[in-house]
């Protein structure tokens, strides 16, 4: 028997259990306050969208969007981009011999692809590798990492997170860096030569400055200790199964070795889509007189280690210049131009409708 009432409230003449909104006893004056808020009379801006205000807005938006779109489109078109698929699916491809390479084939399979740049690449050139049909965004893959291990936490170094399974331990030793992402790190080596009068001039590829600054300096850290003796710091761990070398031997430069190796950091930022590109090397412009990459003959030496054929993947090498808006992407420009045009067009149409109907009605609009 649930009796829902309150003696206190009743004495005040309040109902039971309800949301008696007014306060105070019966004797007290319950006159509501005459405040703007309580009377729902707060001063308010009451915008009314009329054809008069919206139509000019359409024109303005059209007039703003179309130039922006053209600007982006032109910028995007001015970006030089050259792409080579070196997977080697086609039998004619020089890399065809390496197609079925496996992780630990020794010696590594190498192949060379020659190509010609028709136009010079004027500014800094960015060298990417691209993978297709590679699901870096698969859930099992994305979570298979231990960020505290990568952040230099000694506890996690020796006892990696469970998320790293099945790449957590190998032969009873903890893997550093653990997880599927690290384990499948891209390990092809790409070397670019300019063929200058039949001689191959190697082009300097800068391997630093390709990762996010914050990743390189904050998020990724080697285990604490003597930075010059990484081998000792990684004592007690083992290399990822697929790696030929342990993590402390990724590079000779101590600033680019271990967890703070930039190739590694770039790889660890999982891509959004199954077809993606990642920054591999930078080719910096030496002087203002001469383009970074002149038009002409080039050759690409590939140490083909990374098997993609098994999952129907593709590998690419991309050379690209960069503008203020990033790499080549016609989408934005076209979208802006389209939307701007539609706006403008609709503005015109609506204006005509507005005018015609407006005129007609002023004459024939008398209610009976």
């Amino acid at each position: 028997m649930a009796v829902n009432y309150s003696a206190k409230e009743d004495a005040d003449g309040h109902p039971s259990g309800g949301l008696g909104a007014t306060g105070g006893g019966a004797a007290k004056t319950r006159k509501p306050d005459n405040t703007a808020f309580k009377q729902q009379r707060l001063p308010a801006w009451q915008p009314i969208l009329t054809a008069g205000t919206v139509l000019p807005a359409f024109f303005v938006i059209g007039l703003v969007f179309i130039p922006i779109g053209i600007g982006i489109f032109v910028t995007s078109n001015n970006i030089r981009e050259y792409e080579i698929d070196y997977t080697g699916i086609e039998p004619t491809s020089p890399c065809n011999k390496c197609l079925n390479v496996s992780w630990n084939s020794t010696p590594s399979c190498t192949c060379t692809i020659n190509f010609t740049l028709d136009h010079p690449f004027e500014s800094n050139v960015f060298m990417y590798y691209g993978l297709s049909n590679f699901y870096q965004n698969h859930r099992r893959y994305v979570k298979s990492r231990d960020d505290s291990q990568l952040n230099g936490d000694n506890g996690s170094l020796l006892n990696p997170s469970k998320e790293c399974e099945p790449y957590r331990t190998s032969e009873d030793k903890p893997i550093a860096p653990c997880g599927a992402i690290a384990n499948s790190m891209f390990n092809d080596t790409l070397v670019l030569y300019r063929i200058d009068n039949e001689t191959r001039v190697p082009i300097h590829l800068n391997k630093k400055g390709i990762a996010w600054w914050t990743d390189k300096n904050v998020k990724f850290r080697n285990p604490s200790g003597d930075a010059n003796n990484l081998t000792a710091l990684f004592q007690g761990t083992t290399k990822p199964v697929n790696w030929p070398k342990p993590v402390y031997m990724l590079d000779s430069d101590p600033d680019n070795n271990g967890f703070i190796n930039e190739d590694f950091i770039v790889w660890m930022r999982t891509a959004a889509l199954p077809t993606f590109r990642k920054l591999y090397r930078l080719i910096e412009r030496k002087n203002n007189l001469q383009p970074t990459l002149e038009a002409g003959q080039y050759s690409l030496d590939i140490t083909y280690n990374y098997p993609v054929h098994s999952f129907d993947g593709r590998k690419r090498m991309i050379l690209s210049t960069i503008s203020w808006m990033g790499g080549k992407n016609p989408f934005l420009g076209i979208a802006y131009i389209t939307v701007g045009s539609i706006c403008f067009f609709l503005g015109v149409v609506l204006l005509i409708i507005h005018h015609r109907f407006g005129n007609r009605n002023t004459s024939a609009d008398i209610p009976n």
Binding site: M1, G18, L19, G20, D33, L42, F58, Y141, I210, Y336
Partner: protein, 1128 residues
Amino acid sequence: MCAGEEKRVGTRTVLAGHRPVSETDAYVAQKFCDNRIVSSKYTVWNFLPKNLFEQFRRIANFYFLIIFLVQVIVDTPTSPVTSGLPLFFVITVTAIKQGYEDWLRHRADNEVNKSNVFVIENAKQVRKESEKIKVGDIVEVKADETFPCDLIFLASSSPDGTCYVTTASLDGESNFKTHYAVRDTMVLCTHEAIDSLAATIECEQPQPDLYKFVGRINIYTSNQEPIARSLGPENLLLKGSTLKNTKKIYGVAVYTGMETKMALNYQGKSQKRSAVEKSINAFLVVYLCMLLSKATVCTTMKYVWQSNPFNDEPWYNEKTKKEKEAFKVLRMFTDFLSFMVLFNFIIPVSMYVTVEMQKFLGSFFISWDKEMYDEEIKEGALVNTSDLNEELGQVEYVFTDKTGTLTENSMEFIECCIDGHKYKESISEVDGPLKYYGKAEKCREELFLRALCLCHTVQIKEGDQVDGLIGHLEHRATYISSSPDEIALVKGAKKYGFSFLGLENDYMKVKNQNNETERYQLLHILNFDPVRRRMSVIVRTITGKLFLFCKGADSSIFPKVQQDEIQQTKAHVDRNAMDGYRTLCVAFKELSQAEYDQIDKQICEAKMALQDREEKMAKVFEDIEANMHLIGATAVEDKLQEQAAETIEALHAAGMKVWVLTGDKMETAKSTCYACRLFQTNTELLELTTKTVGHSERKEDRLHELLMEYRKRLLQDFPKNRGGRKRSWMLNQEYGLIIDGSTLSLILNPSQDSSSSNYKTIFLQICLKCTAVLCCRMAPLQKAQIVRMVKSTKGSPITLSIGDGANDVSMILEAHVGIGIKGKEGRQASRNSDYAVPKFKHLRKLLLAHGHLYYVRIAHLVQYFFYKNLCFILPQFLYQFFCGFSQQPLYDAAYLTMYNICFTSLPILAYSLLEQHINIETLTSDPQLYMKISDNAMLQWKPFLYWTFLGAFEGLVFFFGVYYLFQNSSLEDNGKVFGNWTFGTIVFTILVFTVTLKLALDTRFWTWMNHFVIWGSLAFYVFFSFFWGGIIWPFLKQQRMYFVFAHMVTSLSTWLAIILLIFISLFPEILLIVFKNVRRKAQNAPFDPPMLLSYKRMENGCIFKWKPQEVINLTERGPLRILQMQRC
């Protein structure tokens, strides 16, 4: 806890003071519950389990609990925190709220239970806590104290054995009521004396009716036969009422604790659910289906995709041992659950919280409304249920009481007629108080006036703290009565020179025209009851003559008087009724001593009866009040409440059908209906009353004929294919229907042999076609029956009942929305209502402005919530197609959790509290706007589909826009690339901005609060994102958001993409607004709000001729009738 239902039958025996009355009578001690009041639901110990159990009984909470458990058990893409945290938040907030309310109840209970009372034990006064009182204890109560339990009134400090009580906290009536001590114990007014009392009390088991009590007391004096006395409600002092003007009283406890009438009266009301909630549930089902189909599609696609082994397990992404070993069926099932969890945000837990908050907070605006504050009673509107706010905007039928609702219920004596001669106070002659139209014999005149002075239950109160029904007498003395008619009559008599001076020791004092005081001994009062519809007194004059004076409704007096006397008076009464006055007839008869003795015996016998006392009394009264002589009749005006007519007119114009349900008689009710413009001069009236149906045997046949005829007439006028709009009746000839109680019961309960029992359906068809219906002579239950009948018709229209008296409670409880008027007939109506307002005129603002706004607000809130969660989850669904159906969430867990709680919750809440898409003034003055939202217009499938498509479109734009942007993921000017979390963050940023700006586009009323929450939410989102990505969070497994937002912001392309995509998303909305705008312009019917026919203007003497004209409104809303006013 005690007092189960089964115990209510039978009687209980109580020993006064627990003293055995005799050795011979074996007294079996009955067990009664203690005097503890328990209104609280929980104790400290059972609070958690009980409260949790109750909360999880709600289907939505249960659903979220299941989702949470799935997340805990199964390896799901999002951590249990994402859904656990909001659920925990909701549950905690609700628990705290309920806990607090219960704590208040505990405190109030304690205040009552621990208060000190004095109990007489062994001739001594013992102080006890109230909860320790047992049935049978003798309790002493002093002035201004409340009674701790239901007591039988034994003795009082006042010598006449009476006490005054106010029951303000029980039924709201603040006038003093007189209660009488048991006659044989009233002298026992000391501790010692009362302690010597040996008595048993037999009474019925507790029942909730405050005004009914049947019992008997047996008083044992030494070695004598016990004296038996009957006990009635006048002997019972109810817990919760307060003793006034009496020093102290003694009483014996008969009902305690939860068995007191007060406690029994507070059984919870049944919960009313609004139509909006039903719509929400329907939409919820759609979204649940959407959720299930999404999960199914994804699961299926996953396994299709995985059938290719290099997709299922490429070398770079091997499965764990556990995954490999799991059974395929089980794996599929967990995959399905995982997808469910991933997409579960489409059904937002926060919507329930927001809806609740909106309703709770929104209802404050009603009680805060200054315009609904009444200076006279110093009170504003009261909200008892906040669940029904939006229902106020959906009302189709208004059932209103007449007396006290449409009319003021403050009576004024207008005229009287004595033996057919009219006596009227002339208005023009200020000095000459009376104007005689012919004159009756002097003695008849005096008899009539004496009858007016004697035949009533009016009391005289000195002092000024009474705020009930007051009529000022000399100085500060006032008349008090439960019926305003009686005060009007007594005051009327006073105008003619006879004034009632009060009751003293059973003697009524009357000052006559010659300023002499006459004394009459009051022998019996034959109380008024609604069945007899009359009351009588039996008095003895000083000279020893015995008179019975009777007054009552004409229909109940005429059969009881000499038939030859009726004629003259009847004409008068009928004319008065036509004028809208309440008429009462006065009759008398002289009794011989012998007759009186017999009457006295009969009454006493009936009063002593334990069983069926009411029926017996009624029978005795019926017998006594016979063969009387008619003296005359009175006419009392019940003034129309201010603006009653305008309000009714506004409700009509708003497309509502107004039905008047009254207990008054037809003529009076009809004239009131004309006065308040329910019926207009051109309304054709259809009558189904005893007058038209007749009394004869063949009345059923006649009724049948009438029903068929009316139906035929109405159907001719209303061809069936009228476009299906319910409210198109406005175009045609208006019909009004009048029906009375007896005909109604004939229709609802036709006799067995009647050929057709489908009267009810025909009747209903007729009713629904009429613009106005007047039901007179209704019993309270019949009122509820009518409401139920209309409520259950096709399309289940929303009904609203408004009334002020206890007789309206049944219909108030029955209707979808019950409104109580805080009137003069006590508080029962407002107590049982969902909303209480001081006056009928406040209904206009309550419905047209508040109801409209609440409906629009909540409808928008609901649609918006579904919309924003659809475009939240759709990208996540689409992303599955690009991540191998691996349940990879697109957004970070923090965003998933915060989206509904922080980023997008406050703007919509502010909108749903403050939005006024149309000004309140416009809404109130243009009732036709109300029709725009009729039939739940904003929550029909069409708008729902519109919102859903909008959400789907936006979701597609968000996802594919960013997808195409990410065809080249190097979006910074340094060539570095973005990963999947940046992808999600961009989508999320566009999402948050778009849904917030969409709301901004919808907002028509920008107060500073809207500005604050809308821009504040966006700023908070940006701030939060920087903060969330700005720190390496300890204790977090993954640092995936580290500097993602900051990097995103440095990319110009991202900025351009965000702006573009937001614009594209909002584009259809803007376009729609423009199109609507242009079209309205194009069709430009300068839509003047239709003028309302104002009652006031008519009063001012202007003569208008009203010509309803049909103006076809070109908009879709359907033709509306516009009244155009022309001066003639």
